[in-house]
C-alpha cells in the first residue's frame, strides 16, 4: 500500500484475481447497486493529518439530496465556496450537515479583497453553513506568486485560524498552477491547495510543483478532474471514470473533488475508489486529450518552430492569458509594453510558423492580443 494509505498497482496485482473471483460470483442485482458495500479509500492530507476519502465531493452543482447521500456513504470532504450559487450552495451544505457536523470536513473559499470584506465573507459563510468553524478556509482562485504572498490574504487567514473559525488554510488555483503551487511550497503559510488537475493539463511543471508541495507537507486536492464539461469535439462520450482514476494514480494527490450533480454520477465517481487505470482506459483518455487539446494554454513551453519576424510568442501568449484568462487588462497591457518584439507583424500573416503542440490556433490569438493591447 502507498504511504498515504492508497493501494498501489502492486497491491492490485496481489488482490486483483481474488477481487475478480468475488466480482464474478456477485449476483447482478447487487452489482446494480454500486454504492452498497462501497469500499472507501482514504489518504492523509499533508501536514493536516486529516484522513479524507480519495474521492470526495465538489458540491457546487450537487442538489442537497446528493450531498446527503455522499455523506451517508462515507465521503468526508465537502468542497464549497462563498460565491457558489451566490451562497445557496453553502446553505445546502449547511442543511445537510446540521446535526452531524463531525461526520465530514467542510472546506470553503472566500474572494480576495480588502480585510473587512474578507472577514465579512467568512462570517456570512459560517452562518450559511450553520457551523462555528470550517475545517479549511481557502482564498479563491489564486493566480500568481504575488497573490500567494498577498499580505492581506495571509493576515485574514491567520486571524480566522486564531479565532477558531477555521482549522486549516489554503488556496484554490485554476490558472498558472505551477507558479502558485511552487510559491506555496516555499512558504509555510498554507496547509492545503486545491488545484485544477487532470489528464489534459498536467504538464511536467505542474507535476513537479505538486510533488514539491506534497514534500513540503501541503495537502493536495484535485479539482476539474474530468476536464469539467468540455464537450468532446469528436462527439460521443468522455471517459469520465478513467479521468478520475488518472488523477488518483498520482501519489501526491490525496483527494479529488469531482463536481457531482446526480446520484448516478455519485455512484460512478465513488466506484473509482480503490480502482486503477486500465490500459484501454488510458488509451481512451489519450484520444480524448488529443481531441480537446488547445482549449486551454498549459504554458507547457513546447511550442515548435520559430517566428520569422522574431515575435516573442511565449511572452505574447502570457499577456493573452492575463487578458483573456485572468481578465486583467491592466496587467496584460503592463506586460505587453515590456515585450521586446510584440505581435504587431502577426496581422499580416495568414498562417503561423510556430506550432502549438497542444493544438491552439496561434495566429488569430496573437493578432487579437495585439489589437487589444497595443
Amino acid at each position: 500500500m502507498k504511504k498515504d494509505g492508497r493501494f498501489s498497482r502492486r497491491d492490485f496485482l496481489k488482490t486483483g484475481p481474488a477481487a475478480f473471483a468475488v466480482a464474478a460470483a456477485t449476483p447482478s442485482w447487487l452489482s446494480a447497486r454500486p454504492a452498497s458495500g462501497l469500499a472507501l479509500e482514504h489518504g492523509v492530507l499533508g501536514r493536516t493529518g486529516l484522513r479524507v476519502t480519495s474521492v470526495s465531493l465538489g458540491c457546487m452543482v450537487a442538489p442537497e439530496e446528493v450531498i446527503a447521500a455522499a455523506v451517508d456513504r462515507g465521503v468526508n470532504w465537502l468542497d464549497t465556496a462563498h460565491v457558489y450559487k451566490n451562497g445557496q450552495n453553502e446553505g445546502e451544505v449547511g442543511r445537510v450537515m446540521r446535526g452531524r457536523r463531525d461526520t465530514a470536513y467542510i472546506s470553503t473559499k472566500i474572494r480576495s479583497g480588502n480585510k473587512q470584506t474578507m472577514q465579512s465573507q467568512i462570517d456570512t459563510s459560517l452562518t450559511r453553513l450553520q457551523t462555528d468553524y470550517v475545517d479549511n478556509l481557502m482564498i479563491h482562485d489564486v493566480r500568481n506568486r504575488a497573490q500567494v504572498f498577498n499580505e492581506t490574504n495571509l493576515e485574514v487567514l491567520e486571524e480566522a485560524k486564531q479565532a477558531g473559525k477555521t482549522r486549516f488554510v489554503g488556496f484554490s488555483t485554476h490558472n498558472n498552477m505551477a507558479e502558485t503551487i511552487n510559491a506555496a511550497a516555499e512558504s509555510d503559510h498554507y496547509d492545503i491547495i486545491l488545484t485544477s488537475f487532470n489528464f489534459s493539463i498536467a504538464n511536467p511543471a505542474l507535476l513537479e510543483a505538486v510533488a514539491k508541495a506534497h514534500a513540503a507537507g501541503i495537502g493536495i486536492i484535485a479539482m476539474k478532474t474530468q476536464l469539467g464539461d468540455f464537450p468532446n469535439p469528436e462527439g460521443g462520450l468522455t471517459p469520465h471514470q478513467a479521468a478520475l482514476k488518472w488523477v488518483l494514480e498520482n501519489e501526491h494527490v490525496t483527494c479529488a473533488v469531482p463536481g457531482t450533480r446526480d446520484f448516478q454520477q455519485l455512484d460512478q465517481n465513488l466506484a473509482v475508489m480503490g480502482q486503477r487505470l486500465g490500459y484501454f482506459e488510458g488509451r481512451e483518455l489519450e484520444r480524448y486529450a488529443a481531441a480537446t487539446s488547445g482549449l486551454l494554454c498549459t504554458d507547457c513551453g513546447t511550442c515548435e518552430g520559430a517566428c520569422p519576424n522574431g515575435v516573442d510568442i511565449r511572452d505574447v501568449r502570457r499577456c493573452a492569458m492575463y487578458l483573456e484568462g485572468y481578465r486583467d487588462p491592466g496587467l496584460a497591457r503592463e506586460n505587453y509594453r515590456q515585450v521586446a518584439l510584440n505581435a504587431r507583424p502577426c496581422a499580416d500573416c495568414t498562417e503561423c510558423a510556430v506550432l502549438c503542440t497542444a493544438g491552439a490556433a496561434l495566429q488569430p490569438l496573437l493578432s487579437r492580443t495585439h489589437a487589444q493591447l497595443a
Binding site: 450559511r128 469520465h240 446520484f263 454520477q265 487589444q372
Partner: protein
C-alpha cells in the same frame, strides 16, 4: 568476523509430477492469466456520461450594453462560449452549462479607455427564458430579497443581478469602495435595454396556489432531485400537514422521450429504493415508490407530459395532488 554461510535452497523431494497434472496446471494458470489480463487491461466497468454540447456563440446583442454608465464609459467587451466559459468563471462554469448556457457578453466600464475597469456587466445568453429563470433562482443569494429588477432580480452590496428574456445579467463593481448606487443604476439601465414583454414564466400558471410556499417556484434544467433522467422540470414546494412536499412536471418533446424517462425511472427507483406500484393503461402510466434520499415519489406520464410529487407519503393524497396538476397543465396553453 565470521563469513556468513550462504543459504542453500532446499531441493524438494517428492513424488514425480505426472504429465496430466502438468497439463491441468498449465490450463488453470493460463486461464487465470487470461482473466487477470482482462481485468488489468480493462480496469473497472467505465460508464461514461454525456457532456453539455457547444451552443451557438454570441450573435450580436451588443446593444444591450449601454455605451455610458455615468461616470463610466464602455471600455471593452469580451465574449465567451461553452468551450471557454471556464476561462472566465472557472469552477462555476458547470452550473451555467447545465442551464443551457450559450454565450456571455462581458462589458467593462472605466473612466477612460486606458484605465482599469471599475464596473463589469455580464450578459449571459441562456437560450430560453426558462433557463435564465432557473439559473437566476439557483443563484439567488440567501441573504437578499427579490426586487422588481428585470423579470426578477436583487440588489446587493456592489452587485445586482436579474433575469429578463433569455438573459441572466450580473453587474458588479470592481472596487472596495461602496459603489452600490452606480451598480444598481447600471443594472436598471441594462434591464431597460432588453426587450421582453412577458412578466414571468407562463409555465408556472398551472401550479395550484393553495399551500404554495412563496419563492419556491423553480426550474431545473437537468437532474431534478439528483435523478439523472429528469430534465426541463418545473417545480413548486407546498406546505403539507407533516412536512413540505413538492409538485413538478416536465413537458418533453415527444411521447417516446417521456416513455424513456419513465422506463429509466422505474429501473433506477428499483435499484436505489423501491417501486411499490406500476400501473400501465392505454393513455397513461403511473409509478409509485420511494427513494432513500428523496422520499416518497409518484410519477404519472400521459402523452409527452410527466407530472409528479415528492415527499407526499400517502398514495391517495399524492395521486390526488398529481392528477390535479396534470389536469391544470393540460388545460394551460
Amino acid at each position: 568476523m565470521p563469513t556468513p554461510t550462504p543459504r542453500r535452497r532446499k531441493r524438494r523431494s517428492g513424488r514425480p509430477v505426472k504429465r496430466a497434472e502438468t497439463i491441468a496446471s498449465s490450463v488453470i494458470l493460463t486461464g487465470l492469466a487470461a482473466i487477470f489480463l482482462i481485468v488489468f487491461l480493462v480496469g473497472s466497468s467505465g460508464e461514461t456520461r454525456t457532456l453539455a454540447g457547444a451552443g451557438s456563440l454570441w450573435t450580436g446583442e451588443a446593444d444591450i450594453l449601454p455605451p455610458r454608465i455615468d461616470p463610466l464609459a464602455l471600455s471593452g467587451t469580451w465574449t465567451y462560449g461553452p468551450d471557454n466559459l471556464y476561462e472566465y468563471i472557472n469552477g462555476q462554469a458547470p452550473h451555467y452549462l447545465q442551464f443551457g448556457f450559450e454565450a456571455v457578453l462581458v462589458g467593462e466600464y472605466a473612466e477612460d479607455a486606458g484605465a482599469m475597469p471599475e464596473l463589469i456587466v455580464d450578459v449571459y445568453h441562456m437560450g430560453e427564458r426558462s433557463n435564465a429563470y432557473g439559473l437566476f433562482m439557483e443563484s439567488f443569494p440567501p441573504e437578499e430579497e427579490l426586487a422588481p429588477l428585470g423579470n426578477d432580480g436583487f440588489y446587493g452590496h456592489n452587485v445586482a443581478a436579474f433575469w429578463k428574456g433569455p438573459y441572466y445579467v450580473r453587474v458588479m463593481a470592481l472596487t472596495a469602495e461602496d459603489e452600490s448606487y452606480t451598480v444598481h443604476a447600471a443594472a436598471e439601465m441594462v434591464a431597460e435595454r432588453i426587450q421582453d414583454d412577458e412578466a414571468g414564466l407562463a409555465e408556472f400558471a398551472a401550479f395550484p396556489t393553495e399551500g404554495l410556499l412563496a419563492g419556491t417556484l423553480s426550474f431545473s434544467k437537468v437532474a431534478a432531485f439528483g435523478l439523472h433522467y429528469m430534465k426541463d422540470t418545473f417545480l413548486g414546494s407546498y406546505e403539507g400537514e407533516e412536512s413540505v412536499y413538492r409538485l413538478f412536471y416536465s413537458h418533453l418533446e415527444t411521447e417516446e422521450e417521456a416513455l424513456e424517462l419513465m422506463a429509466e425511472h422505474r429501473e433506477y427507483l428499483g435499484s436505489a429504493g423501491e417501486v411499490t406500484a406500476v400501473e400501465e393503461g392505454a393513455q397513461e402510466e403511473l409509478v409509485w415508490g420511494r427513494h432513500q434520499y428523496i422520499g416518497a415519489i409518484l410519477m404519472i406520464r400521459r402523452g409527452n407530459l410527466v407530472v409528479g410529487s415528492v415527499r407526499l407519503a400517502e398514495r391517495g393524497e399524492a395521486e390526488g395532488a398529481v392528477r390535479d396538476l396534470l389536469r391544470r397543465v393540460e388545460v394551460e396553453p
